[in-house]
């Protein structure tokens, strides 16, 4: 499904960054971020469209980070996939959120398709159990997909097969075991998964 590394970008939502306000100037941060804040979603997270994602018993609610991933290719233009960055909500961005973000199945991704023309202002809608719960636009991104690509290339190279999740809304809705999640955006097939309680150990 994904042959390379999946990278995400934290605090790339202008509204979320504004909401943190003065806190960014105090410990443990000291100052607002300068470069893109990247994280990795490792391969155990990858899940196909339609998957049943098991919610571990220590995570009652997951944030549903509906976004678009840009995929590098060896030749030809980049591709795009709808993606859901699932994570345990966390208030601190000081240390890498491995236990929060890297659970099995916590990155459902849809099939690759052409990058939409209006990527920088695309709207992504999240429905949970059939009801719209969240809607956001890439116009909210601190760094647009093009700017991200340029600023990341300053210190590392994305290889063919790597994907980059362009950002997560700070107000991403939460979901629980039993919920059906569907995200949609113009130009993509809807991406849906269900959350199930992990089998008792």
């Amino acid at each position: 499904m994904i042959s390379g590394t999946a990278y995400g970008v934290a605090l790339n939502d202008r509204e979320q960054l504004a909401g943190l306000g003065e806190a960014l100037n105090h410990a443990p941060y000291g100052k607002p971020p300068v470069a893109p804040i990247l994280y990795v979603k490792p391969r155990n997270c990858f899940a196909a469209a339609g998957s049943a994602v098991a919610l571990p018993d220590d995570i009652a609610e997951v944030a549903v980070g509906a976004t678009i991933a840009i995929e590098r290719t060896a030749a030809g233009p980049h591709l795009a996939r709808l993606a859901i960055d699932l994570f345990a909500p966390h208030a601190s961005f000081y240390r890498p959120a491995i236990a929060e973000r890297c659970r099995d199945g916590f990155l459902p991704v849809g099939p690759a398709t052409a990058v939409p023309d209006a990527l920088s202002t695309i709207e992504i809608v999240t429905a949970i159990n059939g009801a719209e719960r969240h809607r956001w636009s890439f116009a909210r991104l601190v760094r647009s997909p093009d700017t991200l690509a340029r600023d990341i290339a300053d210190f590392m190279t994305l290889a063919p097969g790597d994907i980059l999740l362009c950002g997560i809304a700070g107000d991403a809705p939460v979901a629980r075991a039993g919920d059906r999640i569907e995200i949609t955006a113009t130009g993509f097939a809807p991406l849906s998964v269900t959350l199930v309680a992990e089998q008792a150990r």
């Binding site: 470069a35 990247l38 391969r43 155990n44 994305l158």
Partner: protein, 250 residues
């Protein structure tokens, strides 16, 4: 046995270094000399790369931190890897680039919720990483941030993966780094805050580890900034000796 990843006859493959270390046995039964291959970093495509911060108490103190109460794990891509005898380019806009010699555990079988007591049964072997940090780019967001720890070609890896059985106790190995022959790091894996078995137990308590995944287990005391053309050698007892040269980013 020592397993190397290489290019020979136009094809990527794995080989096994012969006992006298003079040749490499290939899967097709033939044997080739070192001059007939290009060595690659011994990594499985797609593998998850875990790395540890502050996993040696003396290095934590050196950086002004208390040793952590749970493992400080971060993840890396594959863009950083460079093979034995490769070149690691120093950025032009930074001078605080320091080598970090690390024991790397390579997962050999799927691990989910394994106990520390059983954890080492899930290790296929060990290799060596020199996981550079470039301190000018430190920011306090998901620290250590990728701009510090995931730069292109700043993670020499290899030269090979040694079978776990040939290494024995992973917590009794000397590690050293030399720069132009002078020792800048000298430690022992016995001083890890979280030993290999506990790292595997902790990670597998909440995620599944798969064959080929690698854990870069952290580095001991000794922060030394390198310069262009420095010759750097990281050595881990019973595993091997990983050499590279410092270049300059174009």
């Amino acid at each position: 046995m020592k397993h190397v990843r290489l290019i020979h006859a136009g094809r990527e493959q794995w080989g096994v270094v012969t006992a006298d270390e003079q040749a490499i046995a290939l899967a097709d039964g033939t044997s080739v000399g070192w001059g007939d291959i290009t060595l690659l970093p011994p990594v499985t495509p797609g593998a998850t790369i875990f790395a540890l911060g502050l996993n040696y108490a003396d290095h934590s103190v050196e950086l002004g931190f208390k040793p952590p109460s749970q493992p400080l794990v971060f993840l890396k891509g594959h863009n950083g890897f460079v093979a034995h005898n490769g070149v690691s380019p120093k950025p032009r806009d930074a001078d605080q680039m320091h080598p970090e010699c690390e024991l790397v555990a390579v997962i050999g079988r799927t691990a989910k919720r394994v106990s520390a007591a059983d954890a080492l049964d899930h290790v296929a072997g060990y290799t060596i990483a020199c996981d550079y940090a470039v301190r000018e780019f430190l920011e306090n967001y998901y620290r250590p941030n990728l701009r510090v720890k995931n730069r292109d070609a700043l993670t020499p890896l290899g030269p090979w993966v040694v079978d776990a059985a040939d290494v024995g106790d992973p917590q009794a190995l000397a590690l050293t780094t030399t720069v132009n022959g002078a020792t800048v790091q000298s430690g022992s894996t016995r001083d890890m805050v979280f030993p290999v078995a506990e790292l595997i137990a902790w990670l597998s308590s909440f995620m599944t580890l798969s064959p080929g995944d690698m854990i870069l287990t952290g580095t001991p005391h000794g922060v030394h900034f390198v310069s262009e053309d420095d010759a750097v050698i990281c050595e881990v007892e019973r595993v091997g000796r990983l050499a590279h040269r410092v270049g300059l980013k174009p």
